[in-house]
């Protein structure tokens, strides 16, 4: 039985809204989602070479949230993430070379091989931090928002977490504190219905997550997380209100991961969810449904796609090659940064 069917409307009503975007903006969203998809697929393809000795949590199927939400942020805005951090890092503009070096445990990885794939960080583009403990980044992001408010630096902080993250006490604690202090933060919940293999129904009562968030006195909404434009609009609206002095926002995006919680490949066949359910969501794939939408609206995407794809594939090959050739950290590196100078 399909437990969590796709219930969104896709791009059905979006053609009329297209005129407010430039063609290059619309194509760029596609390019960024496609890039994440191809990077993730290549990581997956190479995972069993065992050269990336790190756990992976692929975002295949969840590209629209990372790309749509980050498109509404500026570079100096801050992004925090949970363990499923590839999309957040790339969406915020994180350096692909440094990411792949990190995943290959190399000295020039974005965290010097101390973080691995769950701790991708790139302060130059505002990819501020991530935590592998579910919910762990939520109060840290809230603290960053407190610092922004204190310093009046105009930055908006956003934090990605999953449906499981909302079950952690710190999520509620952070929502309360952000609401109390009216902090400039967006809590962005990617609800993909499963925490590892535990479905939402065994973990939460039957009510909407964004309604629960609303109970903390926070402006909350729900979006179709497969629709990059819907994600972008919701985030943009939240960012604008926050920059105007508004308090925190909570966005729930309903998404689906096409792969297992961790590692390469899907694990639906083990029985915790139906293959049929995944296939249903795959028919609403964020990359391909957006591609079809652009194509139907004559954005010329069909003619551009082969070249875009070629470019991305070349970049990915180059970055993997760079990572493989990069030096490993040395023994002395192990003892650095236990304490700060």
């Amino acid at each position: 039985m399909v437990q969590y069917p796709y219930e969104g409307q896709g791009f059905k009503d979006w053609s009329g809204a297209l005129e407010k975007y430039s063609d290059s903006f619309l194509i760029d969203l596609f390019y960024k989602m496609l890039r994440i998809r191809l990077i993730e697929e290549e990581i997956e393809n190479r995972y069993f070479d065992d050269l990336m000795k790190t756990p992976i949590h692929l975002v295949i199927g969840q590209e629209a949230t990372a790309v749509g939400a980050c498109a509404a942020l500026s570079t100096s805005d801050l992004l925090y993430s949970g363990h499923r951090t590839h999309g957040a890092y790339l969406g915020k503009g994180g350096d692909l070379k440094k990411m792949l070096s990190e995943m290959h445990c190399k000295a020039n990885g974005c965290a010097g091989s101390r973080g691995g794939s769950m701790h991708l960080i790139d302060p130059d583009v505002g990819m501020a931090w991530s935590s592998a403990i579910v919910g762990g980044a939520i109060p840290i992001a809230t603290g960053a928002a407190l610092a922004s408010q204190y310093k009046s630096d105009q930055n908006v902080t956003m934090v990605f977490f999953g449906d499981g993250g909302t079950e952690e006490g710190v999520c509620s604690e952070s929502l309360n504190f952000a609401s109390l202090k009216q902090l400039p933060i967006i809590f962005f919940c990617e609800n993909n219905f499963y925490s590892v293999q535990s479905p939402l129904r065994t973990r939460q009562s039957q009510r909407d997550i964004f309604r629960w968030a609303e109970g903390h006195g926070i402006n909350s909404s729900v979006v179709d997380g497969t629709n990059v434009l819907e994600v972008y609009e919701a985030t943009k609206s939240a960012v604008e209100k926050i920059r105007d002095g508004g308090g925190p926002h909570f966005i729930e995006a309903k998404v689906y991961r096409f792969r297992a919680h961790g590692g390469a490949g899907d694990d639906s066949q083990t029985g915790y969810r139906e293959v049929e359910e995944r296939e249903m969501w795959e028919r609403h794939c964020p990359v391909e449904s957006y591609y079809s939408f652009l194509d139907q609206n004559n954005l010329g995407i069909k003619s551009q796609r082969p070249e875009l794809q070629k470019q991305i594939e070349q970049e990915i090959r180059d970055c993997f090659e760079h990572a493989l050739k990069s030096p490993e950290p040395k023994k002395a590196d192990l003892f650095k940064y236990v304490y700060a100078d």
Binding site: L78, Y80, A111, G112, R114, G115, H119, I121, P123, A128, W129, S131, I133, G136, I138, P139, I140, A141, T142, G143, A144, A145, L146, A147, S148, Y150, K151, G169, V170, S172, E173, S174, N176, F177, L180, K336, Y337, V338, Y339, A340, D341
Partner: protein
């Protein structure tokens, strides 16, 4: 008068001679340290449940909100883990939070953010961020504090790489270590002891720093070295007076910082006396006593004339009742007895 106030008021300490310098109580020196830090650096904020209430963290935060405003000194929700994360995130973005708790027991609620996040951020991101955070709490003892309001948890935290842990025993150190901790770029925990709050001592005016990782010799002696920190040093000092009357001359090493530990100071003392007793306000198992004792065996065995001993809490939770408490906490007399036993052998 609240029970704990009357208990703390009843404690008797050696009084410093005011002619020899300015005398402040322990809590006054803490208050002064926080005031100086807030004046000194705009990035410093002080938070915690009740920092702005009439009790003001035993008086240590008294008047600070009036002086520095609600954005810099503020009450918090009772969300220890969440607020520890908020402090960590704010520290990573350039603030210097001092997060205060009435009792270390409440820090246990925040271990995920303290241990798994704050202590490790700098390491995990290859030094890209720093967490200049001070976590402060006062260990409770006596009159019913019991199993859930008296825990001295320093031993649990000594094994966490990335944390610094300070346990001052004098008003002078309370101020100097607080100022140093706020200036330090790593997460630093200060465990005070409730029973030291009204102890008086010489405290210079203005800003001065006590370096982290440097202990101090409180009493020079030839026969045996007592190592410890915080209120355990007060007990050792009382014991030393009783022992001196019996002709036993102990040296007292106040660690001040239990992570990192001043190995050199301990080594020099053991080399001289050949005997080591470790004292602590926490459990003897797995904490300060266990760590210093093991270091002695591992590094300084050849100097030792006999077995290392320890005086800490028994392997039992704190009882709430008065009669049971008397059997639970070590006293100066306990230290005297152990020292005499060690010197006899």
């Amino acid at each position: 008068m609240p029970w704990d106030e009357s208990l703390v008021n009843s404690l008797v300490y050696d009084e410093p001679d005011p002619k020899q310098g300015r005398v402040l109580s322990y809590v006054q020196s803490l208050n002064e340290a926080l005031r100086i830090a807030l004046e000194d650096n705009e990035s410093v904020i002080v938070m915690g449940q009740g920092v702005d209430d009439p009790s003001a963290m035993f008086g240590s935060t008294k008047g600070l909100q009036d002086r520095f405003g609600e954005s810099r000194v503020f009450d918090t929700p009772l969300s220890e883990e969440g607020m520890m994360g908020v402090c960590t995130g704010a520290a990573m973005r350039g603030l210097r939070p001092v997060y205060m708790h009435n009792r270390p027991d409440f820090i246990l609620l925040a271990f995920n953010q303290l241990i798994t996040h704050a202590a490790k951020c700098h390491f995990m991101d290859n030094g890209l961020t720093q967490v200049p955070l001070v976590v402060w709490a006062a260990i409770g003892r006596g009159w019913g504090s019991g199993a859930q309001h008296s825990q001295a948890i320093q031993g649990l935290l000594m094994g966490v790489p990335g944390l610094k842990i300070l346990m001052p025993s004098t008003p002078y150190d309370a101020k100097g270590l607080m100022l140093q901790a706020i200036q330090d770029n790593s997460p630093t925990i200060i465990f005070e002891h409730r029973w030291l709050m009204k102890k008086n001592g010489f405290v210079p005016e203005g800003k001065y720093l006590v370096p982290i990782g440097q202990g101090v010799c409180r009493r020079e002696g030839e026969d045996l070295t007592i190592v410890g920190a915080s209120h355990a040093i007060e007990l050792a000092y009382q014991a030393s007076k009783l022992l001196a009357a019996d002709g036993v001359d102990v040296e007292i090493i106040d660690l001040r910082s239990i992570q990192p530990i001043d190995d050199q100071l301990i080594e020099d003392s053991i080399r001289k006396t050949g005997r080591l007793l470790v004292v602590d306000t926490g459990w003897a198992i797995g904490g300060v006593c266990a760590e210093i004792g093991f270091r002695a065996v591992e590094k300084w065995f050849s100097y030792l004339k006999g077995a290392v001993r320890r005086v800490g809490l028994p392997d039992v939770p704190t009882p709430a009742g008065y009669a049971l408490e008397q059997h639970y906490y070590p006293t100066a007399q306990n230290i005297v007895d152990v020292v005499k036993d060690m010197c006899r052998k």
